[in-house]
């Protein structure tokens, strides 16, 4: 028998006061919907919590379903939700990272949405990459919150000052352009990347791999970066050269999280970075950025200069497996991630217009309101093209993904700081993947 807090208190005879106090301090012990009025316990990471609440208030007004919303600091989101699901008191509906989906399904936290009203319709309307990222073991577990494709972001003003008229197509060209900017005395380090270990995933590494047509894993999640796929090693070799020989990548990148890189881009301190498309909205906002109007979005440069692709990520809304208010929770999910009664993805549009967050719905790109808003910070053609060529990480379908991603960050830091050679780096990654596979088998 597992000893629970309740058992221990009973056994030790602390009496009534102890349990009463503890239960008053703890969260609701039932799994969501505990208030009995059908209200939905909804949790998400703390991005723009006030806007989320504003949108949820609108839902409650139109549906009469109460929502008890809790924003959780993003740095602790995964741990907190896992602890809640394990210890009791988990939410009814929640945000889910595509990175966490496999582990959370394996952990019995989520239930599939197959067969529920409107789900097929949503999956038919979104980009295949997003549908793939929300599907695990053949079942669909999410409705889309937002999605993004990683792109090359560049400061056309700085490029123009160095006499460069178009963005680089190849990594070699990127390095050459950056050297030109460096040699012209415009910037000491033209390229900035968020490569701090505390960040949860480094989209730019995957974007560089997919940009050159490479991958670290085959379709069965076997590591191939050390055998049949040489792209990873070649990309690592380029990174090492750009960081330690030509020195166009800022060495401070190893200490930078995305926000400081964003700030540097907005202050004209970097000419290039690789990151989310939606960041360009902020970079081009005159109220926030000195570089406003000069930031452009480009395809991710590749090893051979040909166009290959980029990485996408998908954030979704999921439904707890043991929710007691399934109907209301699914109503909320549909409002947030699906279509409204006007057959419009209301919340997806809300987020794009409010904060420029990427959308999974293909048709939204033709919406005149969206196009008008998009033109303020990006070339709609490039923006859409990136969504079309973006693909999710195929290794997301394994429960050990987080461990692998964390290990990859260490290895890439080793490459950038010249501690690890590219061949040793890919060997180490392959070894890590094999060890993790064995550990989780």
């Amino acid at each position: 028998m597992e000893l629970t807090r309740r058992h221990i208190l009973k056994l030790t005879g602390l009496g009534l006061a102890g349990p009463a106090l503890l239960s008053a301090c703890s969260n609701d012990s039932s799994s969501g919907g505990g208030s009995g009025d059908g209200s939905v316990k909804f949790e998400g990471w703390d991005y723009e919590a006030a806007l989320v609440q504003q949108n949820l208030d609108r839902f409650t007004k139109t549906s009469s379903v109460k929502v008890d919303y809790t924003p959780i600091t993003s740095a602790q989101y995964v741990q907190k939700v896992v602890a809640e699901f394990t210890g009791g008191g988990g939410p009814d509906a929640l945000y889910v990272y595509d990175d966490s989906l496999a582990a959370w399904v394996e952990g019995d936290y989520l239930q599939p949405l197959d067969g529920m009203a409107g789900v097929d319709e949503v999956y038919n309307a979104i980009y295949p990459g997003n549908a793939q990222a929300m599907t695990y073991d053949g079942k669909r577990y999410g409705l889309p919150y937002y999605t993004d494709a990683t792109c090359l972001t560049y400061n056309a003003g700085i490029l123009a000052q160095a006499g460069i008229s178009k963005p680089p197509a190849s990594l070699e060209e990127l390095e050459a352009q950056a050297l030109k900017i460096k040699n012209a005395g415009l910037l000491e380090y033209p390229i900035g990347l968020p490569a701090q270990l505390s960040d949860t995933w480094w989209s730019w590494v995957w974007a560089l791999l997919f940009g050159s047509g490479g991958n670290m894993f085959d379709d069965q999640q076997n590591p191939i970066m050390n055998t049949s796929d040489t792209v990873t090693k070649d990309v690592f070799a380029w990174l090492q050269q750009a960081a330690t020989k030509s020195k166009v990548i800022d060495p401070a990148s190893l200490q930078l999280l995305p926000v400081p890189v964003d700030n540097a881009m907005k202050a004209n301190r970097y000419a290039y970075t690789i990151g989310a498309r939606y960041a360009s909205r902020d970079y081009n906002d005159p109220a926030k950025s000195k570089a406003a109007g000069k930031i452009r979005m480009g395809l991710v440069p590749s090893l051979d200069g040909k166009e290959h692709g980029t990485v996408s990520n998908t954030r979704m809304y999921g439904l707890a497996k043991d929710t007691e208010v399934k109907d209301n929770a699914f109503k909320l999910l549909t409002y947030l991630g699906g279509y409204d009664d006007q057959k419009q993805p209301y919340t997806a549009k809300f987020w794009f217009l409010q904060r420029g967050l990427g959308f999974a719905y293909k048709a939204m790109v033709n919406d005149p309101t969206i196009t008008a808003a998009l033109k303020k910070f990006a070339d709609p053609k490039v923006y859409t093209h990136l969504a079309e060529i973006a693909k999710p990480r195929n290794v997301l379908g394994v429960p050990w993904y987080t461990e692998f991603e964390t290990e990859m960050h260490k290895v890439v830091q080793g490459v950038l700081s010249n501690q690890t050679q590219p061949s040793a780096a890919v060997a180490s990654l392959a070894q890590s993947a094999e060890t993790l596979k064995k550990k989780y088998s």
Partner: protein, 301 residues
Amino acid sequence: MVAFAERRPLGDNAKAWALNAPAIVVIALLVAYPIGYSFYVSLQKNNLKRPRAKRFIGFDNYKALLSDQAFLSALKVSALFVLVVLGLTVVLALILALVLNERFRGRGLLLSLALLPWAMPGVVNGLMWRTIFDAKTGALNGLLQQLGLIDSYHAWLTSGTGAFLFTALAQVWNTLPFSVIILLAGLSTIPSELYDAATVDRAGAWRRFTEVTVPWLLHPLLIVLILETMNAFRAFDTIYVLTGGGPGDATTTIALLDVQTVLTFTDFGLGSAYAWVITAITLLISIGYIGLLYRKGNFEV
């Protein structure tokens, strides 16, 4: 009345047990149970991502550590970290304690300043040093450039050696005052007659230090060594904030790996095994210190 007359008074032992029972229960609940439970968890395959795979596996988690590269690397980093931190702490604390043991104008102010870092939580300490070492806006870069010692700003925490040394310095800065307090207390117990006698015997400052001060300080030093070794082995917050364990795994200590394993990877079984290894190593080192120093310091005046 008859029953009262026949009642035997409680013995001292029974009274002691009865009076201490509440405290024993509380300690058992708050200390012994979590410790025992963590050992029990360390004998399990217990990963929240695979709740259905949870089972008792005996010492398999411990056996796995022998071939766990991440663990072995973290152990090496931790050992080096402990050596550097401990070496610097003991030397600097001794110097500071000797200085602060003297009477001079401004001693009180200096004493307060020297003790200030101890009041700072590890996370705040990490944040402060991260600001100081920042590659773009750091105070260290600004100072060195103004002094003409560097031409341009450096990213101090991006080389393995640099990150390791600066992290160790940040840790020393945070924990040094505690050692100073202990050594200062030890110094204050040395009878001044011993120094007077040594001076009469024409002993120089070095002889007075090695033959009077050091023997008297062996017990306080023992406490410093044990506690600072434990602190350095468990160092997490400052390192996490300052480098996150990088670059690569240059500053990934065993405590950092442990927290990551439990909280990020939700592997409670393996994480608990890490914690028990830290405990065992610290315990062994402490026993070693006691064996080496306790008897030597056990002298009579």
